[in-house]
Structures are given as C-alpha cells and as structure tokens.
Amino acid sequence: MSMPFYVAPEQQMKDKADYARKGIARGRSAVVLQYDGGILMVADNMSRTLHKISELYDRIGFAAVGRYPEFENLRLMGVRFADVRGYQYDRRDVSGRQLANIYAQTLGTVFSESPKPWEVEIVVAEVGESATDDEIYRITFDGSIVDEQGFVAVGGSSEHVSGRLKDRFAADATLASALNTATRALADENAEERELEASNLEVAVLERAREHRKFRRIHGRRLRTLLEEGRSGTGKPASSRNQGSDDGDEG
C-alpha cells in the first residue's frame, strides 16, 4: 500500500488554478459590452446549436467559455433558479446579482472541494432601464466575482482581448459599431490576424427597448448586414463619427 505524498495546500490550490486556466485557454474567447441600445454579447463559436450565449431571464443574459458540459450545467441551474424565483415572487424580483452570486458560490465550492476544478469562466449581464443601470459580472473558475464596467472579455487570452476592447469601446456606439469592436477584439486573439465571418460568430443582444424578454439572437442575413455596416464604418469608435447612418439596423 502506497502512502499519499504530502502536498501543501498552497501548492494544491495553485495546481488546480493552473489546470483550470490551461483548460480555459484552449477555447476561444467571448466578449460582452454595452452599446447604445443595450448589451451586446459575442462569442467565437463554430457551432449553431451548442450555445456559449443564452438567455437566463427577461433582462439577463449568460455568456460562457471553457468546457461545454460544465457551463451548460451552470446555465441550466441559472434558468431553473431564475424561473423558480420569478414564479414564487414576481418577474422583477429576479436579478443578475442573485444569479452572479449563486454562480460564484457554486464555482467557489467546486474549486475548493472537488479535486478537479471546473474549467469555465462566465459572464452574467443584466440590461437595466438606462445604461447606468446595466450590470455586467464576470465569474471565474475559483468563484471570484468582478463587477465590470462597460465591457468584459472572458476566455484564454481575455487580458489581451479586453485590452483591444478598451481601445475601441464606446458605451454610446451603435450596434454595428459595437459588433465591429467586438469582432476585431476577438479576431486579434492570440495575436493572430484573422477575419471573423458570420458563420464563426454567435451573437445576441439584450435590447433595452424590447418588451417582455430582452434577449434576442442575431444571425443569418441580419448578422451579415451588421458586420458589413460595422466594417464600412472603418472601425473607429462610434462617438467620433456620424451615427445617423447606422439607424437602419434596428429593423
């Protein structure tokens, strides 16, 4: 019978964190950012059906990177929690903060108790009555939770991607322009130069002006049109150019 080696708790935690980081870094990133009509969520995702971006509740969206079965579990949990809450009390009583908290607690518990941490990083975004009421939370594999302002990137090279986002981000950008900012930041991942096409992208918005449920996926022709418009805007932040030309994209 062999004796287990003694491993210092610090080392154990560090090993777990390294393991999780490596796992997450294998996948592509996702970004969430404000635009003039709400919150835009964009993920680099080849699959049409295995979503990285989903609806949690009326005003709340979910974006995740890492291992699909693990964040899918978290998504189902969030939908169930939100629906039970909203049914038990009122639809307005479900908030992004609650969901971010239960995700943080769950990931924190898994990280400290289970030998294998979950290789996921998620974003919970809630669109408010006005841009100042918007909430964007990033929750990492160890259960840390960060209240982000304006934009966030998650995934392997999120620091690099969010650096690129920061350069171009404008909270009052039109949807086409914000989408352009997001795709350029994602395309620049790992410092490789590539062009992201509609078929590589999963895009959804939380539209402030929409009734009932704010979450809406954008795909097909509408997505191609928006990408086209964003590119022809030469990628400058929307605030520094004429915005009138982009009004047609809300149809």
Partner: protein
C-alpha cells in the same frame, strides 16, 4: 443565502440534466408552490374564490383573436369588475380562463413559465400541439380540485408557425383537449356568445372585423347572462382583446377597444339585439 442553498451548493436537482418541464421540476424541488398542492379534504369550498366568466376566441385569415369580459362574480355579487383573464403565454400563444379565478390565475402563470422554461432549456419552443397537450396535462392535474368544486377550464389560442394559421383549443375539467374550428367560447355566458358568433362569423373576416365580432358576441353574452360584464362606458372598463398573427402576440390598445366597443354600444341604441343575419 437563498432557500435550499446550503453548503455553497444548489440542491442536486438544479444541476442535473433532468427535465425541461418547469412544473415537473417545481414538483420535485418545491411541490408546495404548485397550484392545487393542498386540496381541501371535502367539497363545498367553491364560494372561496370568485368565478371568471365569459371568453370568446375566433380565427381570421392569418391569425386568431381572443377576448374576455372583465367581470368576476361570487354568487350574485360582482366580485371584480376589471379583472384580466387573458394571459400572454409566449410570443405565439395566449390562454384565457373561466371558472374558479384563484386556481385559474395560478394555472395560467405556471403555464406561462412552463412554455418559456422549455424554450430556454431546449433552445427552441414547443410546437403548438405540444403546447396544447402540455396544458391538457396541467388541467388534468387540477382534477382533484375540480372534484371539490374548484372547476377551471382554459381556452388556448396560438399561431401555428408551420401551418401559418391561427388555431383554438378548448378543454374540459378532466383535461380533455378539443381543437375548435373557427370560433369558440367558454364560461357562464358562452352559450349566448357562441350563438352570436355563429351568426357573425365569416371565413374572410379582417383582423378588425374579428375584434368587432368578438365584442358584439361579448355584448350578447352580457345581455343575457348576469355574470358577464358588458362594456362600461362610464368607468371606461372595456373587454380585453389579444391578437396573435405571424408577427406575434399583441394586446389590442385600450383606445382601439374603446372606439370599437363604443360603436357596438351605439349600434345597440338603434338595434338593441344587434346586427342581424340575412335570411336569404
């Protein structure tokens, strides 16, 4: 920090692949929240909740309309004169209830969450038949309460995106599901409303004409059934109307209903029995 959230973990049921049905999930984690969870031991409790009265639904080319009066009664007392018995259940369906109001409202709310929950869990909505069958199961689940006197029956309308037409489904208290052709009515004034619709219905009604026909039929129901409320011009309480077309669900604006309802009432000043059908 939240109910059932102990030791930093949600209960296992929340994390399992499990069911996409909200009612089933709720039954597993918090059965006390389900309507009719605690039925009374013996009958005779009907007087505990008011009765929701008349609902009409009719199809027109490209859509379907649902309208309900606003009255709820308790015996000979008007318990509520501005009740909303119509529930938007998702983008392409709506439910109205007649019978025990307290039970019906809970049922409609649960059904609403049920459809949305399925859509979010599965990434696609149920087919219209799927929605109709799910509602049948939920009505059957209320059978115990129905036997105690708390009878509630829904009327489901929906736009079938595959067939591109509006459809109407009615139910009985044991969950029997019946697809209705063209028009239907439920509730205490339904006999009169249906008779009225029978004479007013045409296959080529426009959306506006369909709404007008619904309002005429509700007027006829209110005319002969004391439990059905007619348009209340003084208090500005008018029937509620929902319309579903390929563009989705729309609650008809109050001033539009007011205009049409006022037309109906004024028409009755000249002809108290309303529009007549030609004999030849």
């Amino acid at each position: 920090m939240f109910e059932g959230f102990e030791g930093g973990r949600m209960p296992a049921a929340y994390m399992s692949a499990g069911t996409s049905s909200f009612a089933e999930f709720l039954g597993a984690v918090s059965p006390e929240l389900l309507p009719g969870h605690n039925p009374p031991a013996q009958g005779g409790g009907e007087h505990l909740t008011p009765d929701a009265t008349t609902i009409v639904a009719l199809t027109f080319p490209g859509g379907v309309a649902l309208a309900g009066d606003r009255r709820a009664t308790q015996g000979n007392v008007i318990a509520n004169r501005d009740m909303d018995k119509l529930f938007r259940t998702d983008e392409f369906s709506a439910v109205a209830i007649a019978g025990s109001a307290g039970i019906g409202i809970e049922l409609a709310r649960l059904y609403q969450v049920e459809l949305e929950h399925y859509e979010k869990m599965e990434g696609r909505s149920l087919s219209l038949e799927g929605k109709a069958n799910k509602l049948a199961q939920m009505v059957r689940g209320n059978l115990g309460m129905a036997l105690q006197g708390f009878v509630v029956v829904p009327l489901l309308i929906g736009f079938d995106e595959r067939a591109e037409e509006g459809r109407v489904f009615s139910y009985d208290a044991v969950g029997g599901r019946y697809e209705e052709q063209r028009y239907h009515s439920i509730g205490s004034g339904s006999v009169y409303a249906k008779g009225s619709l029978k004479k007013l219905y045409r296959d080529d009604l426009s959306e506006n004409e369909a709404i007008k026909a619904a309002l005429e039929s509700l007027y006829d129901a209110a005319d002969d059934d004391s439990a059905t409320g007619g348009p209340d011009l003084h208090r500005k309480i008018f029937p509620l109307v929902d319309v579903i077309t390929e563009d989705g669900h729309r609650r008809v604006a109050v001033d539009e209903v007011e205009r049409l309802a006022t037309e109906v009432v004024e028409g009755r000043a000249a002809h108290p029995d309303g529009p007549t059908a030609p004999l030849s």
